[in-house]
């Protein structure tokens, strides 16, 4: 009797190789790095906020890429309705910015209560806003600009 081979399982995608897999890997990697380095070098990593901020770009990109099919439908509809490209991107930018700000609200609130300098707090909020918005809207920009985008209008 022939033995089943492992090759098809490996070839058919057991190894992470898609963009979403890599982004998930990156997010977890940053969190793991932060957790492992904090006790080793507490002086350097006393302010772990900036390291935590590194998870914003890959997480927002992951959220944006993970529902590409649905988003493409939305983008096609908005274009067909006469919506300009910048409006489509702006809605993603705002969505990404909100996600980042809400997720980091405990950190921002803590900073506010500890009376950290207002400048530092505002800088953090602005960085969050831009990083979240930019990385959430970038996959959409890439999709819209792709030459195959309008092929989706054909059945």
């Amino acid at each position: 009797m022939e033995k089943p081979s492992w090759t098809p399982i490996v070839l058919s995608g057991a190894i992470p190789r898609e963009a979403t897999d890599l982004l998930a890997l990156l997010v977890m990697g940053i969190v793991a790095l932060e957790a492992s380095l904090a006790p080793v070098a507490p002086t350097v990593f006393s302010s772990r906020l900036w390291l935590s901020l590194l998870v914003v770009p890959p997480t927002c990109a992951l959220a944006s890429i993970s529902t590409t099919t649905r988003r493409t439908r939305e983008e096609l509809a908005l274009f067909a309705y006469g919506g300009p490209g910048w409006q489509i991107l702006l809605r993603y930018f705002i969505r990404g910015a909100i996600i980042a700000l809400v997720a980091f609200s405990p950190v921002l609130l803590q900073g506010f209560l500890r009376t950290t300098s207002i400048l530092e707090l505002v800088t953090t909020a602005v960085v969050l806003l831009f990083a979240g918005g930019l990385f959430y809207s970038m996959p959409s920009l890439r999709r819209i600009r792709s030459s195959s985008f309008v092929e989706n209008y054909k059945s």
Binding site: R70, R73, L76, L78, A80, Y81, G82, G83, Q87, Y153
Partner: protein, 227 residues
């Protein structure tokens, strides 16, 4: 609306797929109903995309009201001639009801809020969609979704209506209703219609027809392969 010697190319497995070997030149006058007839894969949808500014030709030009819009976006073209497009694949937003989809389209077209309700009511009644105005597109049939797209396009009251294979996924009875409806729209409201189709019988119902030729396959050295 006019296209002059429009040529489009795509990379293909064999080399280059060239649609419109000699270039497509056509003119649609105001109030006209033009049907572009061609087989599957002959470039009808590509021509629609070129007219709307969604694809750019490698040669030739597209003009709206004698303004060269070849490199302009769809939005810019709409500002010259109020244009609405209905594509082969239904485009209604899945998370919005039929009525909300029309509201969104009208707000993007800059229709004042006061006028929207009335226009939507008219368009929905015209296409027999008034009973499903609160339904979501994903729960509807292909024919109903096609009619949502048409209602959305017509609610804008476009000067130019561009339709890519209007009866592609409709059954016989819906098909029989649609073309007379487009003719009525063209005759009674003066809407200029640019339609593509693979069916000669359908094309014959338009005021004018243009016949496309099959595309060419070229090698990297620009030599023709096969037909």
């Amino acid at each position: 609306m006019e296209t002059r010697s429009v040529v489009v190319e795509y990379p293909s497995v064999k080399g280059v797929l060239r649609l419109y070997d000699q270039g497509v030149s056509l003119k649609v006058d105001q109030g006209d109903f033009l049907a572009v007839l061609g087989g599957s894969g002959w470039g009808k949808s590509t021509l629609v995309n070129v007219v709307l500014g969604l694809e750019k030709p490698i040669h030739g030009s597209v003009s709206f009201r004698e303004h060269d819009v070849t490199r302009e976006s769809f939005v810019k073209r709409c500002s010259l001639v109020k244009t609405a497009a209905v594509f082969q694949r239904p485009t209604a937003l899945p998370q919005m009801t039929v009525s909300q989809n029309l509201h969104l389209a009208l707000s993007l077209a800059g229709v004042p809020r006061k006028e929207r309700d009335e226009r939507i009511k008219e368009a929905l009644a015209f296409f027999g969609l008034d009973k499903i105005e609160r339904s979501y597109p994903d729960g509807l049939s292909a024919g109903q979704r096609r009619r949502i797209d048409l209602a959305r396009a017509l609610a804008v009251k476009p000067e130019l209506l561009v339709i890519d294979e209007p009866t592609g996924d409709l059954d016989g009875s819906a098909t029989n209703l649609l073309i007379p409806l487009l003719r009525g729209l063209n005759r009674n409201q003066g809407t200029t219609i640019f339609m593509t189709t693979a069916l000669p019988r359908q094309a014959s119902q338009a005021k004018h027809q243009v016949h496309l030729r099959p595309p060419l396959y070229l090698t990297p050295e620009n030599k023709m392969i096969g037909d």
